[in-house]
Point group: D2
Chain length 139, copies 4
């Protein structure tokens, strides 16, 4: 089993008048983690998906626990694991930390959809195999 | 019991290359619903809270179910109810719909915090009474 | 000659750690002014333009002078005038103020484009007539 | 003379329903270029400036020419030069390109301000010397 990891700095654009990350900006970061995961780990860039194949992976459900605030200049370490792989969907667990301090834990369900019909699609065999490598219990 | 309601149009800035609302933008809308609720229903504007009293109401947890996509030009009707009122926290249920179609359901927990110390604070009595009016079962 | 006007409140999502509007957020507001102008004054909603007719009005050039900072809770009054109307383009002057205090002055050039070919298009006659009403010197 | 360079990918969050970068998102990128320049080239991080020294470098004026659209997956190469260095201000020229194609040219004026008083401040001697290295004609 592999764990996908990614990193980003907390920039000025992410912070609110309290000097901490404004939580909607975390969802942009979470989307960037997923986008980078699909690009690098699954081998399926969002450009290829959206612009060429006309498919997307919108979130059907997302839940986030915020454990501690993040501040300007913090470097966030993200990990992503696949916790369930359905025919047309995929559950993810994404964790954000700064050093040894947990900042947020995300659970979400992605669905593969045909963007023109907005109907779900089964994972192509090769993409599915790539996703499976990031699932706990995977060989 | 009162239900707080609010409305916003889906603007160009909210939409992604698939022509639907990019989900991090929903969280900006959700924050605006909460900010407007505090201003109009609780009588406690974010300007007063942040700039004068140095308190805030960050989300401790948020979960969202996305039922159907929203498109450019849709008008979203939001409702907000208080589902639990703790000493220093508050559970909310927020629903977004377009016409008769449910678009998303949000459950979240806000915590009242002292922004300088980042410690939780008990709701002031009058603010608490205002929040209570939006709680199910309230007289 | 008509002047188009529009209003928005400075919300939490617009403000930076200094407690003032983060300037990229002004461009979202400016875009919303233009989008609302096209919808209400020109009679051509962005939904109609983008989703149905596959045309858009991207900025070719924009320049902004920031006169004074805006803060959480400020209400911004916007005005928009057409200063030049070309065959496929249009110069705008947009001013944002809070009460009697000027906050920013924007000059920009929009171009009407075919989104599929990314080539410029001449203004349709009726749309052009509507734009002209907001031009100085117009009858 | 040194030219500061920086790079970022066009991510899903930057793109609009036309599939191209939504121009307010360019200003977030421009701000990130400036923020990274101050951190790495001037040796003055925004965290240090804002959270510790209570100073900032807001834009007083910014003008952007958009030469060609950027799409999902494009990698943007940014360069930044100082074109004028005043007592409390600084003119910048920032260029964004993708491969050999120019995408946008930015000219802007930053002002060093005391965040608590919102008054301008003279550049500290060492910071000024660092800025000067990125000015044309500098030794």
């Amino acid at each position: 089993m592999s764990v996908f990891s990614h990193q980003n700095a907390v920039m000025f654009q992410h912070c609110d008048p309290a000097g901490i990350v404004f939580y909607p900006r975390y969802f942009e970061m979470i989307n960037a983690v997923v986008e980078t995961f699909f690009d690098r780990a699954v081998g399926w860039s969002f450009a290829q998906m959206h612009s060429v194949e006309r498919v997307g992976v919108p979130m059907g459900r997302i839940a986030v626990d915020f454990h501690a605030a993040s501040r300007l200049g913090d470097v966030l370490d993200w990990t992503l694991e696949v916790t369930r792989l359905g025919g047309a969907s995929c559950d993810l667990e994404i964790r954000g930390a700064c050093g040894r301090e947990a900042r947020l834990t995300v659970t979400g369900t992605l669905v593969l959809v045909d963007l023109d019909r907005m109907t779900s699609l089964r994972w192509p065999r090769e993409r599915r195999a790539n996703l499976q490598r990031y699932m706990e219990g995977a060989a």
